[in-house]
């Protein structure tokens, strides 16, 4: 496609606004890059566009809106003095603003509480970075210690429960300690066998001792639980 200086001038705005077809754009570029007459024109207009697009809108006079409203809706009181000072209240008297304000206040309150700030005895020193760090560090260590203790307590209770469940599998009645092969228990007679399982009383004492040892390692609540177990197992 052949491009000329006349075409460059006639379609310069279309080029700058991106309205030329790819072929036309290519022809435009080829011509202008080789034409000493077209380069200054294209350069000056393109810079002009940059300047025009950088110009900011001008603010109208403050009273213009009120003048327009006076002429159309009728005389209105122009806001002066305290009306102007507190006119912004109209903008904030909305549900959306109230919701946002409450959310913001709640967030600030949570952050202040987490940083160790006391609302009953507020002190500016509580908001210093050093104090905030110390409080957060202390809280982190306390939380870690409590969680570790909780896990340890759970382990102890689990061991108690597991031992008790094993104990439940053992025979507890006199009849259950009788050797299975024995046809019956007659006075003065014996089949020469020994009971394979320990006697109930010795086993109960053994469990009780173990429960007492475990109970010494747990806090009061679980200690009370273990004490109940001990009482239950001891005849």
């Amino acid at each position: 496609m052949t491009w000329t200086c006349e075409l460059t001038e006639a379609r310069l705005s279309e080029y700058l606004d991106g309205l030329l077809s790819p072929d036309e754009r290519h022809a435009f570029d080829l011509h202008v890059n080789a034409c000493v007459h077209c380069v200054p024109l294209v350069s000056s207009v393109s810079h002009l566009l940059s300047d025009l697009h950088s110009i900011e809108q001008i603010e109208p006079p403050a009273q213009l809106v009120y003048s327009i409203l006076n002429q159309t809706l009728g005389p209105r009181e122009s806001k002066k003095g305290w009306r102007v000072a507190f006119g912004w209240l109209n903008a904030v008297a909305s549900a959306r603003f109230a919701y946002s304000a409450v959310s913001l206040l709640a967030t600030v309150a949570i952050l202040l509480t987490a940083s160790g700030f006391s609302f009953r005895k507020p002190k500016l020193a509580d908001l210093s970075p050093v104090n905030v760090y110390r409080f957060a560090d202390r809280q982190a260590h306390v939380a870690y210690a409590r969680s570790t203790k909780f896990v340890s307590d759970l382990r102890v209770v689990y061991e108690i429960q597991s031992r008790l469940s094993k104990d439940n599998e053992l025979p507890t009645t006199p009849e259950s300690t009788v050797p299975k092969s024995s046809p019956g228990k007659n006075p003065g007679s014996t089949d020469g066998t020994r009971p394979e399982t320990p006697r109930q009383q010795n086993r109960a004492n053994d469990i009780g001792r173990q429960l007492e040892l475990l109970a010494m390692q747990v806090p009061v609540a679980s200690a009370g639980f273990c004490h109940q177990l001990i009482l239950r197992r001891t005849p």
């Binding site: 001038e9 006639a10 379609r11 310069l12 705005s13 279309e14 700058l16 606004d17 991106g18 309205l19 754009r25 570029d29 890059n33 380069v39 024109l41 294209v42 350069s43 000056s44 207009v45 393109s46 810079h47 002009l48 566009l49 940059s50 300047d51 025009l52 697009h53 950088s54 110009i55 900011e56 809108q57 001008i58 603010e59 109208p60 006079p61 213009l64 809106v65 003048s67 327009i68 409203l69 002429q71 159309t72 809706l73």
Partner: protein, 210 residues
Amino acid sequence: MAPGNFGVKLVTVAGFEADDTLEQDAQLVQQCLQGDGPAWEELVRRHTRRIFNICYRFTGNGTEAEDLSQEVFLRVYKTLGSYRSAHGGFATWMTSVTRNLLIDHYRRTKRDRITDSLEDAMPVVENKESVGRRPDQQLLLGELSFQVQAALTRLSPELREAVILRDLQQLEYNEIRQVLDVPEGTVKSRINRGRIELARILQQMGVRPS
């Protein structure tokens, strides 16, 4: 200078007729037609800045821009019942009303305009947001805006409105076509000639490119 790139990224402007803006404006218009005063107030607040900027950039005079802006909203308020969403977005229709008023004003005051001085052209304060910039950037922005405004007033009304709507108000070609009520080819031609003429005027004024 890299081939094919003359220091400007190709701008893909989106215009002001985004779907949600269209819908919100349409809802407000319906409420206004039912006598809802706060809906009209909301419409005024949403569009005042834009209309004022169009008027100011076209007239170059802050006082005239203020008066014309009021006149635009008064006319829109009185003829709101004639707006039809099928003919385009409310913002486009409002811009069209603004443009027609500006052209009428231009024709009425054509004889008086020749003697306007540049000092009368810039009475308003620039955007307050530029206060927080570095001093040299703030000065540069203000100076550039002043120089562009001075150059704009030297363009013919047809080219001036095309450049204002496209490059200062970021309207799409289709929206400008609706506002000016001319074919799209005419829109492209006016924008192109306006940009080239504006660049030439700034060069004559000795404004260095950024």
